[in-house]
Structure formats: structure tokens, C-alpha cells
């Protein structure tokens, strides 16, 4: 999370490369003879890189496709098109043993601590299951000890090994889920809203734990969330998604202090900030209307139906995710990838 990690990351090869990832869920009609009448374009061409030891935050509102991205990266869904390269190998085309091997290295932490743990298994069985699936990771006699070590690592009493999930609170359950994700020593952990179901006072504990674990095990995180403050806190780089597309991507400073996409600006301005002084110095952009349906997205720029800058060009031409022409070659934090025809810098969050 710290600066040195970020700089090092820039020199290194990406550990995960996502290229033009697409996921369309077909909409069918008819009971027996199903015919396709359309598709929900949950993810519609997304590309990004993840470097070793960094955290990439992905933010967006409900329905923007961020959770589908998580499932695609975990190969829990089959991609409609596009590739996900893990160390140069396209994992969307893998199956069987090869896929199982990759799964050791990419793990997931879920949003809901109440449904992500099997209520009929003990904590020991839950955290130990990865070893049963991948017996080569830990010999049988070692497993109990490994599970207790993992409990200790996530800040739970190792004596809890024989308890059941319902005997724990939400925050403790999330720690158990994290321990399960860590068991196989993965390199990448995909976190899908890992703290949004937790109380504020417990949220901070879990966020701190995740930061600590990242340093300790040199983990790379893809951190998916709707809470922009939390994403800023934990991320080195941030991608903003809107309706299946990446609107803007850059370092946390570029996105939060020098946003150039109007959607990012609106999103940032809408974040409720409890500090009255910060709030007074801040302008608010209140968007009109709702997010359109991903089954029938607008032509051209997806955001144009709610955008105050929209012109004819926005309806005709799809803006590509690239460094905008105006900023090209300039030494400014605004020169980062943004998918807007009329990208311009606008400071929403005062620099601290």
C-alpha cells in the first residue's frame, strides 16, 4: 500500500492482465424452446493490469458490473469474450487440472460473512478445506497446525478451531473467510465488497488486517467496493466502472485529486463526508435520473444520458479508455486514462 510498493510495481511485470473482457448474460423467452431476445451486458470490454504487491480498487454503483468482473477473474463465470492472463497464461480458456492449479494462486474474499461460511462445518474444517482440495500444499498431519496458525494470523484465537460459524460475529466471520482465502498462499486475492456488510467500528479492523496481510505475504488485491473512501484508503490504483465499462483508471491521487471523467467527478462529489469543514469547501454535482438498464445501454458513451456535458458526439462515438488528447505528453496528474470525449480536470476533493 505504501509508496515504495507502488513504484516497485511499476517496474515489474503485471501479474494479471485483463484484456477486453466481456460477459453478456443472455435474456431468453419461452419455456420449452428458449430463444434469445437480448443480453444483459454486465461487462462490456474491460482491460486493466494488476501488479505484484499492489491493490487495484474497482469502484462503481450497483449494476456497473464490478461483481461480475470478480467472478470472471475467479473463472466462476465463463467469459463471453476477452482474456485474463495470469503470468502470461490465459486462464479463461483453462479447465480441469490446469484451472485447479491456477486457483491455488487466485483466491477470493466475499461480501456477506453470513452466507460465505458453510454453517454445518467447523471453523477448522472451513479453513482446512483448501488443504483437502489441494493436498500437496500441506501434509495431512500438518493441517491442524496450519489452520491454527492461520487463525492466529487473522487475529482469532486458535482455540476456536472446533466452533461453528454461527458462534461468531460478522467481523469475526469475515476474518475466518480471509483465513480460508490465505490458506493456499495465493498471490492474488479478489475482494468483492469485503467490508460493506460490517459495522463501521469493525470495518476498520478488517481493513487494517487486510493491509497487514498484504505486506506480510506480498499479496496483490483486486478490491471491489462501492465505498470510495475505503477504496482510496486501501488502493494504489483505482478503476471507476459505469455500466459495464471502465470510465477512468489511474493512481489513487490521479483519480481522487485530478479526476477528468464527469462520472468520477459526480461520484466523488456525492460521497457523504462527515467532516463539516471539508464538506463546506466542496462542490456538489447532483446527477439526475438513474443508471440505465445494462440490457439496453445507451449508444456511444454509456454515461451520456446523465452527463451535463453530453453532446451529439457522445451519442455517436464510443469514447475509448486512453489518456485524453488534451493531456497527452503533459507532466500532470490529469494525464491518465479516461474514457471521455470532453475530459477536463475538475477538483472535487480538496487535497489534504
Amino acid at each position: 500500500m505504501a509508496e515504495p510498493a507502488k513504484q516497485a510495481a511499476e517496474q515489474r511485470e503485471p501479474i494479471l492482465q485483463v484484456r477486453n473482457l466481456v460477459k453478456h448474460f443472455p435474456l431468453t423467452q419461452g419455456l420449452v424452446l428458449k430463444r434469445q431476445v437480448g443480453a444483459v451486458k454486465a461487462v462490456d470490454g474491460i482491460s486493466f493490469d494488476l501488479y505484484k504487491g499492489e491493490t487495484l480498487g474497482i469502484v462503481g454503483e450497483s449494476g456497473c458490473g464490478k461483481s461480475t468482473v470478480a467472478r470472471l477473474l475467479m473463472t466462476l463465470e465463463t467469459a463471453t469474450a476477452g482474456e485474463v492472463f495470469y503470468k502470461g497464461q490465459d486462464i479463461t480458456k483453462l479447465s480441469g487440472r490446469a484451472l485447479k492449479a491456477v486457483r491455488r494462486n487466485i483466491q477470493m474474499v466475499f461480501q456477506d460473512p453470513y452466507t460465505s461460511l458453510n454453517p454445518r462445518m467447523t471453523v477448522g474444517d472451513i479453513i482446512g478445506e483448501p488443504f483437502e482440495i489441494h493436498p500437496e500444499v500441506a501434509p495431512k498431519g500438518d493441517r491442524r497446525k496450519r489452520v491454527q496458525e492461520l487463525l492466529d494470523v487473522v487475529g482469532l484465537n486458535p482455540e476456536y478451531i472446533n466452533r461453528y460459524p454461527h458462534q461468531f460475529s460478522g467481523g469475526q466471520r469475515q476474518r475466518i473467510g480471509i483465513a480460508r482465502g490465505l490458506a493456499l498462499n495465493p498471490e492474488i486475492i479478489i475482494c468483492d465488497e469485503p467490508v460493506s456488510a460490517l459495522d463501521v467500528s469493525v470495518q476498520a479492523q478488517v481493513i487494517n488486517l487486510m493491509g497487514k496481510l498484504q505486506d506480510e505475504f506480498d499479496l496483490s488485491y483486486v478490491f471491489i467496493a462501492h465505498d470510495l473512501s475505503i477504496v482510496r484508503h486501501i488502493s494504489d490504483r483505482v478503476g471507476v466502472m459505469y455500466l459495464g465499462k471502465m470510465a477512468e483508471i489511474g493512481t489513487d491521487e490521479e483519480i481522487y485529486e485530478h479526476p477528468t471523467h464527469p462520472y468520477t467527478q459526480a461520484l466523488l462529489s456525492a460521497v457523504p463526508v462527515p467532516d463539516p469543514e471539508v464538506r463546506e469547501g466542496r462542490e456538489r454535482i447532483i446527477l439526475t435520473g438513474d443508471v440505465p438498464s445494462p440490457a439496453n445501454p445507451p449508444s456511444g458513451c454509456r454515461f451520456r444520458t446523465r452527463c451535463w456535458k453530453a453532446q451529439d458526439k457522445c451519442a455517436e462515438e464510443l469514447p475509448l479508455l486512453a489518456v485524453p488528447e488534451v493531456f497527452k505528453g503533459k507532466e500532470t496528474a490529469a494525464a491518465h486514462e479516461s474514457a471521455c470525449h470532453f475530459a477536463e480536470e475538475r477538483q472535487i476533493v480538496p487535497a489534504a
Binding site: 466475499f110 460465505s116 458453510n118 454453517p119 454445518r120 478445506e129 482440495i133 458462534q167 461468531f168 460475529s169
Partner: protein, 308 residues
Amino acid sequence: MTELAKSQGPGAATAEPAAATGTAEPAPARITQWGEIRHRFMANRLAVVGLVLVLLLFLTAALAPLIATHDPYAQDLGNTLASPSGDHWFGTDALGRDQFSRVIYGSRIAVVVGLASIFLACLIGLVLGALAGYFGKTVDTVIMRIADIFFAFPLLIGAIVIILVMGRGVMPVILSLAIFSWATVSRLLRSSILSVREMDYVTAAKALGASTSRIIIRHIMPNSIAAVMSFIAFSVGTAIVAEASLSYLGVGVSPEVPEWGNMISSARDFMGVKDFLWMYPSVAIVLTVLGFVFVGDGLRDALDPKLR
């Protein structure tokens, strides 16, 4: 001061026993899932009453020859329709057979038919329900449409048709009850699997690379079977009633066999005159069904891990 010192250590508080601050209360260090379920079941008074009734039924069936005071088939035409007495506790029927012994022996048919038919129904229903629930799509559609057909057919009428074709006897009764009960079992299991399948812990297991069989056996089944278990207990009771009804209608086991439905049926002519004739077998049926219903209720509560 130790308390204070402890809570000041970094992370110490989060590792504190849940009993101190968290949601879980006095949890013994080592409890097995079954131990806990048994404990919860036993804490439920009605469930225990049900269990006692069911055990009594099984015991009676197993030890019928020892408990019965007379041969249930032996006719004594010189002592018909006798009121309950020291020799014939429940009186005698129109053929002078000892009612008490017949009620006792009747439990055998009840147990055999109830258990066997539901066992068969579960065999078919659980396998088909699991297939439909886990694989979904075409498999699901085909299995569920077949289940619909059996589901829609009134049990008694369907059973009568089958028995008319196969002839009377214990086996045809068991078969016909099984054929018309599996559909409910499979539907229940299917819908339960459908909801469990969407749980994050199933996704988590997939993400770990778990095999399909592992996911079904370790994750889906233990969590979806609970909803079916209590229904199965209910169904045994229902099957016993259905069996008695078939006998009452004269399509069940042969009339000379000691069986509760048969006994009530033959008491029809004496209703209002010799009420003890239908009363004792009826009480036997009611107690049996109540036993299974209470056990089913108790199971449902005991198997739910969230109710604690």
C-alpha cells in the same frame, strides 16, 4: 489490572473469546454437529414426547408376540363383540378375536409400510431432486414435469388403481404409496438445493477448485437435506394414515390381517353401539401420527443452525 493490560495489547481484544463480548455464549470447547443437534432436539419437550411415541411404536412392533395376550388371528365365535374385560383388555371383535392383540400386531404393518414406502420414496425422490437441483436446465425441466404428473394425481385414487392392477397385499401398498410420495420429496430437495447452490460458501468451494462431488456432498447436501428431513418424518406418519385409509376402503392388506384400518373398517357396522371397536385402533393411529409430527417439528428446529 490484568484485564486492562490484556485489552491494551494490539489485537488482543479481537482475539478475546466470543463469550466475553461477542454473539456466542457459553460454547463448550468441543461440540460435534450431531451432539449439538441432539442437544437442541432433546431440549424440545414436544419433540421428546414424539420420539417416545415413535420408539414405543417400534418397540411394540418388534416385540408384538411378547406383548400380545392372544393370537390375533384366533377366532372365538362364542365370545364375539365382548366389551373390554380383564381377559380381553380392548374387548373382542365380531369374530371373537382379541382386539388388544390385533392393535399390537397392527403396529407391525404400520411400521413396515410407513418406513418401507417412505424409504423407497426418498430413494427415488432424493436422487431425482438432487439431479434436478444441481444440474438444472433440461434435466431439471424433465424431472420436474414428471414429478408434476405424480404430484397432481390424488394419492388414494392412484394407489387404488395400482392395487387393482397388482392385487392386494403389503407390497402393492408400499409401492403405490412410494410412487405417489417421491414427487414431494424431490420437489422439496430441489428447491432447497437451488437456494443453497447460490450461497457464497458454495462459490467459495468452487473458487478453491473443489470437485463437483465434493461440493454436493460436503456443502450442498448437508445444508439442503435439513429441510427435507423433517418432511420425511412427517411423511412416515402420513403414509401410515394413507395405508390405514386404503385398508379401510378395502383395497389395502387382506381383511383378516391385524391392521388398524381393517379394524376400523370392520367396526363400521357397530358404530354407536360398540364404540370401543373403532376407538382403540383410532387412538393408535392418532398417537403414531402425532409422534412422527412432533419428531418432524423437533428435527426442523434442531437442524437449523441459525436458530440458536
